[in-house]
Amino acid sequence: MKLKVVRYLDRGEFPLGAEEALALYRAMRRARFFDEKALTLQRQGRLGVYAPFMGQEAAQVGVALALGEGDWVVPSYRESALLLARGLPIHTLILYWRAHPAGWRFPEGVRAVNPYIPIATQIPQAVGLALAGRYRGEEWVVATSIGDGGTSEGDFHEGLNFAAVFRAPVVFLVQNNGYAISVPKSRQMRVDYIAQRAEGYGMPGVVVDGNDAFAVYLEAKKAVERARKGEGPTLLEALTYRLAPHTTSDDPSRYRSKEEEEAWRQKDPVLRLRKALEDKGLWDEEREKALLEELEEEFGRELSLADSAPEPRPEEIVEHVYAEMGPDQKRVWEALRRGLHLEEVG
């Protein structure tokens, strides 16, 4: 089976209207800005372990902007760009990465659920969420994302099969960044493209240049449209690369060469889109400067909000385990509320 990689950039093609193209760029630039700030905060000890997405903005933002307002995203842990583009407030995201309880509760209006840490477990859940929309007569589409390594997990296969069998309105985004932490794709699978596997489940599989925002966005739109019309799921594979480490605790120099990283830096999705916009006369240095000032101001505001979140209380550890506290949680909660120290609670 031959799959063609869908690509527009660097071929001089400009398949979008100015407004859509600029929206993509602004969202990607904003995401990159967040990622850089988050890495700095982590190094200052003001954020916990953080998983940067730098290099994968086009894949995530492209899918996020292809969705409608009522649609849901079910992300994995490297999908902060997806979450930001779906409207998750920056201060919530900062608190999430600080593992602050206030950052665990995403606002009601944001149709996104907390990122998944275990690998691939979100895939069958996304299918269930998509079917729930059908039962409720709302037909929301669910976009869920996973990395290339995650596609080796059983839940990936079970979830895709379920989606195909039930014709669930789901878009499966695979961000194929070539590595599962340190293990290259060649040690994960013996197929050229993960999207080839789609045929085995009975759904369309599409491969796009994941660093080409036009390609991701347009193919994601088609997949969303297909899902909305009741034609079932799509597997969308975005070929991309994470320019930063797996997490702030990782050292990619142990498994990747400088040359490889540099080659991918040349294909930076943010810079590629910016160049296309500039060639078209839609962007320039001045607009970039204005955007960065705007982002700096927004981030400062959001960081202050995050910093002013109240200190977590010890009794929060037993809150929200059940809708109504059971006797075992209540015992601990009441003891802590009375001011007992943890070691006295027993």
Partner: protein, 326 residues
Amino acid sequence: MRVLNLVQAIHEALDLALARDERVLVFGEDVGRLGGVFRVTEGLQTKYGEDRVFDTPLAESGILGLAIGLAMGGMRPVAEIQFAGFLYPALDQILSHLGRWRHRSRGRVGLPVVVRAPYGGGVHTPEQHADSPEAILGHTPGVKVVIPSSPERAKGLLLAALEDPDPVFFLEAIKLYRGVRAEVPEGYYTLPLGKARILREGKAATLIGYGGMVEVMLEAAEVAAREGVEVMVVDLETLVPLDEDTLLAAVRETGRAVVVYEAMRTGGFGAEIAARIAEGAIDYLQAPVVRVAGYDAPYPPFSAVEHFYRPNAKRVLAALRRVLRY
């Protein structure tokens, strides 16, 4: 009042729930056309349609994941796992998500999922078909574990589980499916989760167990009574949340306790019961708490040795004699 067995009582509860609440969905392996391998869901697909009662592909992790997603989206899924010993492929969904979503979303995502699964031995099943994994489930924060021991309790408890805003594992003792019959009230009723029941009063010692072990305890109590020893029998019914008040009061009254469960002994749920008794009633104890349980070996698949493994009245009586000797 009608006399029903456990299968009929559970079927009736599902029927009532499907009729009452459009959000209720029943699914799993073979639950549709076949009506489940134990026929618990027989006829429900014909009555409620293939959208409400449906067969899934054979994939337990997928079934649990689907249930979680459906509940996230506002539905009330009832997933059947064919045998509780087949829950293991779904443990990641259970431990990592089903039990945790409410907590990790600080209350935004609650999962009103019910997972029904037949468990336990005594009916000569093949390998993996007789496991009792309640301790694994009970060791998962955020889920509830209910194990009924009679038809009328099963019906009311299952309907309560379906109304509960949190995930509930509802384990049904295979031995009891057609082995117990009792009067079951008609119509819709619920029984509160988290309450233990005193099934028999007695001053000499307290027998504590649940599900398929209840009839074993009652049989032992009956024999003991004939020998002039009156023992109390407690059916825990809900393991999580545990009704510690009833449990401790029962042990304080007699000063002696035997805990009965058919899972392997080490780390089994009975170990938790014994520990709670030690913490909460040590001043009243006149003998060590003794456990009667499966042995630290896989549950045997063949009938020739199964009865050595699964606790019976004789072993309970022997344990009773041990605690009475002190």
